[in-house]
């Protein structure tokens, strides 16, 4: 299951760092962040609860970059 989210991230390096961190969240199979298109593509593991996974992704992302937002 793939989903694309609109995001707000201010700097290119932060986007890289958030990507690294968010990939490690359990339930996330793959995740890519494009600073340029301001989009985050998430592939969920089968059977993962998307809402809780995304909540965790946001939490991890905020830790790395406080200004990171999922729109």
């Amino acid at each position: 299951m793939n989903k694309t989210f609109k995001i707000e991230v201010d700097c290119a390096n932060c986007a890289n760092l958030v990507e690294d961190a968010a990939r490690k969240v359990s339930g996330v199979k793959d995740l890519t962040i494009s600073f340029m298109t301001q989009k985050m593509k998430v592939a969920f593991e089968d059977g993962a609860d998307q809402d809780s996974v995304m909540a965790e992704v946001l939490k991890v992302a905020k830790k790395v970059e406080p200004d990171f937002e999922i729109l």
Partner: protein, 638 residues
Amino acid sequence: MNRKQLYMLIRIIIALVMTVGLQLIDFAGWPRLALYLAVYLIIGFDILKKAWLGIIHGRVFDENFLMAAATVGAFSLALYEKSGDYLEAIAVMLFYQIGEFFQSYAVGKSRRNIAALMDIRPDYANIEEEGKIVRVDPDDVEVGQTIIVQPGERVPIDGVIVSGVSSLNTSALTGESLPRGVSAGDELISGSINMSGVLKARTTKEFGDSTVSKILELVEDSASRKSKSENFIAKFARVYTPAVCYGALALALLPPLFLMLFYGAPVNFATFETWIYRALVFLVISCPCALVVSIPLSFFAGIGGASREGILVKGANILETLSKVRTVVFDKTGTLTKGVFEVNAFHDHGDNDIDVEHKKAKLLEYAAIVESSSSHPIAKSLQQAYGKKVDRNRLSDVREISGKGITAVIDGMTVAVGNEKLMSEMSLAPCRCRTAGTIVHIAIDGKYAGHIVLGDVVKPTSKAAIADLRKSGVTQTVMLTGDARPVAEQMAAKLGVDKVYSELLPADKVSHLEDILNSSKGDTKVAFVGDGINDAPVLSRADLGIAMGALGSDAAIEAADVVLMDDDPMKIGKAIRISRKCLRIVWENIIMALGIKAVCLILGMFGIVNMWLAIFADVGVMIIAVLNAIRVMYVHKV
């Protein structure tokens, strides 16, 4: 400008005004400190907060930390020295924020520009419900449903036109600005814009499988496929920032300790002062933002600029490979030629040109009528050349002789149309034609009447495209084709292709390409250009697969790395030049940024560079790098 940027701009202006004001009206002592501290916090509180959060979360070394450390350090030094010179700390923070603001504004703006180029997403689809036109989400339209596209609207879903006449603007898809006329029965490609009439179309695909979705997916994914240089810089930044921080720490501690131990410098804080200041300068210079921002921006601008020209590049890494292409291998049919046959000549039994118009017309007429029941491409081309409606009442006794041709009776005469084998079967000796091409022989009432020479039509720009490739630094061009050797060699000579391999079966194409791949030297790359029909394996085997005219061919879009939206071979050279320009600018930025920083860092160590120059090395370099990166977007005249 978004809300965040506006907020930042207000902060910058307040801080600027206050700083200038403080230079004009002089306070002393505590009020002075309080006012400067206020300006400092107005402009820098978010940096301090982020640096603090970074420390808490165990990510100490980032840009925020660099800036916080440098400014807090400068402030503390000023306090300690009781010099009251707080301006430097504020200036560093202020310029850093101005730089960040500029970067965010410029990057945001060019990002939106580029995204707008590529944004062809239709917002809705019109369907008819109880006689009324209703707007629905394109996702909800099923295959086979009828959609209505009004003038000025974007076609949301692929389909076939049921009724209506109009012209379509396909520039967003192909870069081609000439409108394309369409009417009932024609294919309607999503993403194009309906210019004049109302069109009704029956959808042939779901929205998710339609051309427009495929293209959007491709373009959006392209930004996440990172190039080697991007990965290099990301890794570099990870090592670089901590290294600089430790370097600064060492610069603050080691030289003064050394001086105290061996040169009898006084053991007090004053000895450290100069070196702490130099360490702070060092920190300011070292910020890696110029590189981290400008490189993905360059690639994104390159991908965006290329897509405006009808060249879809699947990723930054592909752009990198493209710039190294030195050998281009072409599939002949559909790439260098149009892939349709055209009548080139009429010859009589002595292989001389027939120059009497009515004789030519008669040959063509008979051939077209006899072949009218066949669906072979050659038969179709003959029909097209004939151009009139075939009166099938004149035709009887049609006999198809597999692999040889057709015989039939027209107006009471027995006409045989076919290849040499058919003629020999009728014990006629057809002349061997001197012209390369596909030959159709015609015999009337058992007598040889002549032959028609059909040739695959070369695209008008093919020859120029090959010459153009050579100018763009491609050293070898190769043509692969299933055609007979004389046809292939004649065409290769005409187009200026270096090498040609003819009479190939589809599987042979892969093995020939592999030979070429093996013989390519060093870091140079081999590109294969095909039309996506039957050559998906070759496309994916090459270092770089270029599919052209691939609209609607999912297999080609899937297998290729670069998709040319129209079928003009001139775009290949252009794609290579765009990639070169992009890579050149990337390297310009890397060398410029690292070069200036390295020089400033060394000068900073010896105390030659002060805080002000340090700010330039940081913010100035970043601004130049960003502006330089945006240049990549303008590729129309490349």
